[in-house]
């Protein structure tokens, strides 16, 4: 192309994306001595400096933080969560008019385009996959087998947990592995009560524990001044204490400190350049988001960490004679098997007898009930495959109930300053099966302002998920009722929500043993172009039932280790 500028710097590696996986790739590559170019499509966000709302109280925000009509209009897809467009945090979510995508069927794609990606806004729940998860596809004859087992990834989970700091409680369950954990946050008194009740009401192995979350609960961690959580619950705005893990506070400062990182914000990667003589990639093409200049960068190793959908879109755009349907797409699976977790199902109930109790502090964490379905023996059901876990928690609500029958006056005024009743919510997150029919593809007729094709989604949850939801609701109701909660209401918001809202999109460049049926091998390398590694959620061969990002970190660190070993062999 005529207006393409070729940058002649010889980088050892290029990382695309600075979110959870890109930050880890950058840190590991730089610490292992590789000159690394880190490309990020969004603007710079500096730890602390660029968290403009971190210390604002409700009265400091316009309209108390309620999204303005303009925010709702420009971010109408991001608005679908109901919480991401709050004025204290909407600046970390994309403008849907500027960054459009298309939906054959509704898909909620929640994104942040800036340095740090969604590591700044994530919910920080951090769990490990187990062999039950790695073996499920194989045992059930679903999709393809994972080319990895727990023992392969276990040391890398240890490694990343030690570095970032994850708090929680180990339970010694085989299907829900123990982790390297900092001291757990506290349950509140109502949650303690439910925990005891579950322990005495069930003998099928179900337990309630505190959520495992990437917050420092004791001491400090490496990075840019990372210290202990202050229980302010303003994490999604960026944490001035660096108390939860983000790329901005942890991995990017570590990469920076080596002197090996060149970070280039405003760089939209759109193609990996493939050389058929060497069967390797030679670099990455970008468009500068601001100047619209096109630049080609060269490197020996490429890490795609732009998040599942974006990395898949880059591969699909990387067309060559050898790969007419996108780089690494010999199998035809690239863009397929899109997964997310299904939720918006569970139960709520009122706790009585705790009116004289209240909490101090705002805990940015909830409870967790690990999977207890289809884990063997009497937990097995023939109604659906796989299982689910519960998140949620107990808290005192606001005054609404107390004033429900009051119109106005001094009595109402008195009530609105008091805490409301205690309520317990059990919110289930279930595993979704990989399905070739669930996919994304590129629309070359609808281009964005940089002339790049837009992503179209065509996916939905399937029968197994729908069958699972019945149990997700019923078990929540039963656990609360048996524990003596009042006014227990089961809910299933199935019709109204769509895939994507779990914000765990994954699977669109899956790993596998066989190049005919998968895109990546067991080291996260593109089968037929081995110096391209894809380590964001797109590699996931199955979804398990819990929050996945900790796994992206572990697989990224492992893949870098592999890549650097290969690199050193070649350069020896």
């Amino acid at each position: 192309m005529s207006n393409m500028k070729v940058d002649t710097t010889e980088f050892d590696a290029i990382v695309v994306g600075t979110g959870i996986s890109g930050g880890w790739a950058a840190k590991e590559l730089c610490e292992k001595g590789l000159k690394t170019l880190v490309l990020e499509r969004g603007r710079m966000v500096k730890h602390r400096e660029d968290y403009p709302t971190a210390n604002l109280d409700p009265w400091d925000l316009p309209n108390g933080g309620r999204p303005s009509a303009e925010t709702q209009r420009r971010k109408f897809k991001q608005n679908r969560t109901g919480y991401t467009t709050h004025e204290a945090r909407q600046h970390f979510f994309v403008d849907d008019l500027k960054h459009p995508y298309n939906e054959e069927r509704r898909f909620d794609w929640m994104r942040g385009y800036h340095v740090g990606g969604r590591s700044l806004m994530w919910g920080r729940q951090s769990y490990r996959l187990s062999d039950m998860d790695f073996e499920a596809n194989k045992n059930e004859g679903i999709a393809v087998d994972w080319p990895v087992r727990y023992k392969d990834i276990e040391p890398w989970y240890d490694y990343v947990e030690d570095y970032i700091g994850v708090s929680g409680e180990n339970l010694g369950l085989e299907h829900f592995p123990d982790q390297k954990l900092l001291k757990p946050m506290n349950l509140n008194c109502v949650e303690e009560h439910l925990k005891e009740e579950i322990a005495s009401n069930y003998d099928d192995g179900r337990v309630l524990t505190i959520g495992r979350t990437a917050h420092i609960t004791e001491g400090t961690k490496p990075g840019d001044g990372r210290s202990t959580c202050q229980y302010r619950n303003r994490c999604m705005r960026g944490c001035p204490y660096g108390a939860y893990f983000s790329s901005n506070s942890s991995t990017l400062p570590a990469a920076e400190a080596t002197g090996n990182m060149t970070l280039r914000p405003n760089s939209i990667a759109y193609e990996v350049i493939y050389d058929d003589t060497t069967k390797q990639a030679t670099g990455v093409k970008i468009i500068d988001a601001e100047t619209k200049e096109k630049i080609e960068y060269k490197a020996k190793i490429i890490f795609l960490c732009a998040s599942a959908i974006a990395s898949t879109a880059i591969l699909l755009q990387s067309k060559s004679e050898r790969f007419p349907n996108g780089l690494g797409n010999d199998s035809g699976e690239l863009g397929h098997n899109l997964m997310d977790h299904h939720f918006h199902v569970g139960a709520v109930g009122d706790a009585e007898g705790f009116d004289d109790k209240y909490t101090k502090g705002r805990r940015a964490n909830g409870i967790y009930i690990p999977r207890f379905r289809n884990t063997g023996g009497k937990t097995n059901t023939d109604k659906f495959l796989r299982g689910y876990g519960y998140q949620g928690g107990a808290s005192r609500g606001d005054f609404s109930e107390q004033i429900a029958e009051l119109k106005y006056g001094p009595e109402l005024k008195n009530e609105i300053l008091k805490p409301g009743k205690w309520q317990m919510n059990l919110l289930a997150f279930g595993e979704a099966l990989p399905d070739h029919k669930n996919r994304l593809y590129l629309d070359y007729d609808k281009l964005d302002e940089w002339g790049l094709p837009t992503v179209t989604f065509d996916a939905a949850f399937g029968e197994n998920e729908i069958a699972m939801r019945e149990d997700m609701k019923n078990q929540a109701v039963e656990m609360l009722e048996k524990a003596g909660f009042k006014n227990v209401i089961g809910y299933d918001n199935r019709e109204r929500f769509a895939m994507g809202l779990g914000i765990h999109e994954m699977g669109t460049a899956r790993m596998g043993h066989n190049p005919d049926t998968s895109v990546l091998n067991k080291w996260n390398q593109v089968h037929a172009c081995t110096n391209v590694y894809v380590t964001d959620g797109s590699f996931m061969t199955s979804a398990a039932c819990h929050n996945p990002s900790l796994g992206y970190m572990a697989f990224t660190a492992r893949a870098v280790d592999h890549a650097v070993n290969e690199f050193n062999k070649n350069n020896a």
């Binding site: 210390n55 109280d57 409700p58 009265w59 400091d60 925000l61 316009p62 309209n63 108390g64 933080g65 309620r66 999204p67 009509a69 709702q72 209009r73 897809k77 679908r80 709050h86 849907d96 939906e103 069927r105 509704r106 946050m185 506290n186 509140n188 008194c189 303690e192 202050q230 229980y231 302010r232 004289d356 109790k357 209240y358 909490t359 101090k360 502090g361 705002r362 805990r363 005192r396 606001d398 005054f399 609404s400 004033i403 429900a404 029958e405 009051l406 119109k407 106005y408 006056g409 001094p410 109402l412 005024k413 609105i416 300053l417 008091k418 805490p419 409301g420 019709e495 109204r496 769509a498």
Partner: protein, 214 residues
């Protein structure tokens, strides 16, 4: 449809509402807006009406200011101007006009109305739990069909009933009051950096009040 749902449909759910920081020359008059302040959205009658009912909803008491003393009207006016879209504003204005016509009876303006007249309007049209909104029953929201609106970012606009507008104003008043800086820092217990999470005795922790930050 219950009230909460109605509020949500109207884009006026109950959470997070606040008064602008400017604090307050203490205004004694029961239905006057802050001095020198110009409404962005409300016209004269609307301003008179809203600034009157906010003080009926949250009157002055021995130890705590009334809603108007905390400029709640200014907050509500700005909120309606910035958070509601044009169609929602139009609908709100239409319903407010119906309420105002009722209140005026034959009168030219609201000059002679007393707080009893305002209360009578609230008693008549502002419904609470267990009461049925006949206006809404007669004109129910369309059932949810599919995801088309969500995908396109379009809305099924629903003109609020008198009850819904009055309840919206009630919630806006309460939330504006509760998240006002004065109330949030000095009246309700304020704990910006708790540094811990524990369960404890309500009286010991806050003397029975709710924390201002959540």
């Amino acid at each position: 449809m219950n009230r909460r749902e109605a509020l949500k449909n109207l884009g006026l759910a109950t959470g997070f509402v606040v008064v602008t920081p400017s604090l307050i020359s203490l205004l004694q008059s029961c239905n006057s807006a802050p001095e020198g302040w110009q409404p962005v959205f409300f016209n004269t009658d609307e301003t008179t009406f809203v600034s009157s009912i906010v003080d009926i909803i949250i009157p002055k008491t021995e130890d705590l200011p009334s809603a108007s003393e905390l400029n709640v009207i200014e907050f509500i006016d700005k909120y309606v101007a910035e958070v509601l879209d044009e169609q929602e504003q139009k609908h709100m204005r239409e319903t407010l006009a119906e309420i105002l016509n009722n209140l005026k009876g034959g009168a030219e303006n609201l000059d002679k109305k007393t707080s009893d007249d305002y209360k009578a309007i609230l008693d008549k049209y502002m419904l609470v739990k267990g009461e049925i909104d006949e206006e809404r029953e007669a004109n129910p929201p369309k059932p949810w069909v599919d995801h088309t609106n969500v995908i396109n970012g379009t809305k099924d606009y629903l003109k609020p009933t008198k009850n819904e507008v009055l309840n919206n104003l009630k919630w806006l008043t309460i939330n504006a009051y509760r998240t006002n800086e004065q109330i949030g820092e000095n009246v309700m217990p304020y704990d910006p950096i708790p540094a811990q999470y524990t369960c404890g005795d309500l009286q010991e922790l806050t003397g029975g009040k709710a924390w201002s930050l959540s």
